[in-house]
Symmetry: C2
Subunit: 221 residues, 2 copies
């Protein structure tokens, strides 16, 4: 299964393609960032993102698209442009008949690191570890796009069915509440963490290692 993850944004739109299956090693296919000049008119910037995203779809032919789910909160000054940009991968999925999954940032963090409140350094470290990368994907938007794609491969069918049920942005919080009431089966990573904790470990060794690296880099304590 090949998933295109998109972290939407007008100035930097992260794009990452990952191939694999739950329980098997994942492979990085491609990663990058679509940038649009802040001096261009808004509609031209949207078209630039659409044109480049079509190239990504043509070049890598994914089986599914995963997009960060938009909330109407956060930085109000940029949220409208981000929402407009998020429509582009959604339209692309609908036009090609590809399954579309929408994941919140905390879902992605939980799937990739086992912790829904992980910081950016932890997510990036786990993305590198999971995909066997020697170099850190930069900027952060590129790493976030890969994390979205990894999340979709691992959450797989269950998340896709949930996405199909998403009929409106308004249902997001209702869905999240439903998920909390009836948690999804733990993923491969969560199972490993649980097993390690059950055997007396305070945190999964990979998480501890990632945290040590982050502390060495000064990005976490």
């Amino acid at each position: 299964m090949r998933v295109l993850g998109v972290d939407p944004g007008l100035t930097r739109c992260g794009v990452g393609v990952v191939e694999g299956a739950p329980g098997r090693p994942l492979r990085l296919v491609a990663v990058g960032v679509i940038r649009t000049p802040s001096g261009d008119p808004l509609h031209q910037r949207l078209l630039t993102i659409q044109t480049e995203l079509e190239d990504w779809l043509h070049d890598h032919d994914p089986d599914a698209i995963a997009v960060e789910r938009m909330f109407a909160r956060g930085d109000v000054s940029t949220i409208m442009g981000t929402a407009q940009a998020s429509a582009i991968p959604m339209l692309a999925a609908a036009r090609r008949g590809l399954p579309l999954a929408l994941h919140t940032p905390s879902e992605v963090k939980a799937a990739v690191t086992g912790n829904g409140r992980a910081d950016k350094a932890q997510v990036t470290s786990m993305v590198m570890r999971v995909l066997g990368l020697d170099e850190r994907p930069t900027p952060a938007d590129a790493a976030d796009a890969l994390a979205l794609a990894i999340c979709q491969v691992w959450r797989g069918g269950a998340a896709s069915r949930l996405a199909d049920a998403v009929t409106d942005n308004r249902t997001t919080e209702a869905l999240d509440a439903a998920r909390r009431r009836q948690p999804a089966a733990p993923n491969r990573w969560q199972q490993a963490v649980a097993a390690h904790r059950a055997s007396g470990g305070s945190a999964h060794p990979a998480v501890a290692a990632a945290r040590r690296q982050a502390v060495q880099r000064g990005t976490a304590r």
Copy 2:
């Protein structure tokens, strides 16, 4: 000049085409609403809007597109879907190389009724009067789309140049502030209102008539 006005929305997306020039009578070409079922997945709804909007563009071949400018305020529960829907006419304009104008609701009201705080009934009455319609365009989204198109024909070049300068949603308030500092030349309607007021009238007769009608219908006082 033929302008397609779009009042974006997921459930009802108003669409109206108007033909004319500043200082000459305007003509209604077509008006309608693109509806998408609230039970459809979000990305399918966006694709439905895109597909139907492409039909409107093909059928009516406008010279410019006017879209309601999005603000990151108002009803938070629907704003994300509206923002995503607004990307569709913007992408269409960019792809076809058509001028795109973004107008705030108060700009539209001011252009069409002479009053930036006019209520919906006043806007609809003036749209009917300007276009010589016997029947009220319904629903409100259809009338709003026509008002956007009328606003663009009347504001014409000045507004288009402003829209070209819009590089980001964030610049909206700065642009509005700039407009307040250096007001645009009054349009045909504002000139008529000013002339009427200068001659001793308390309000333009057409506005007064529209208000009387609204009061009779119980939609205004």
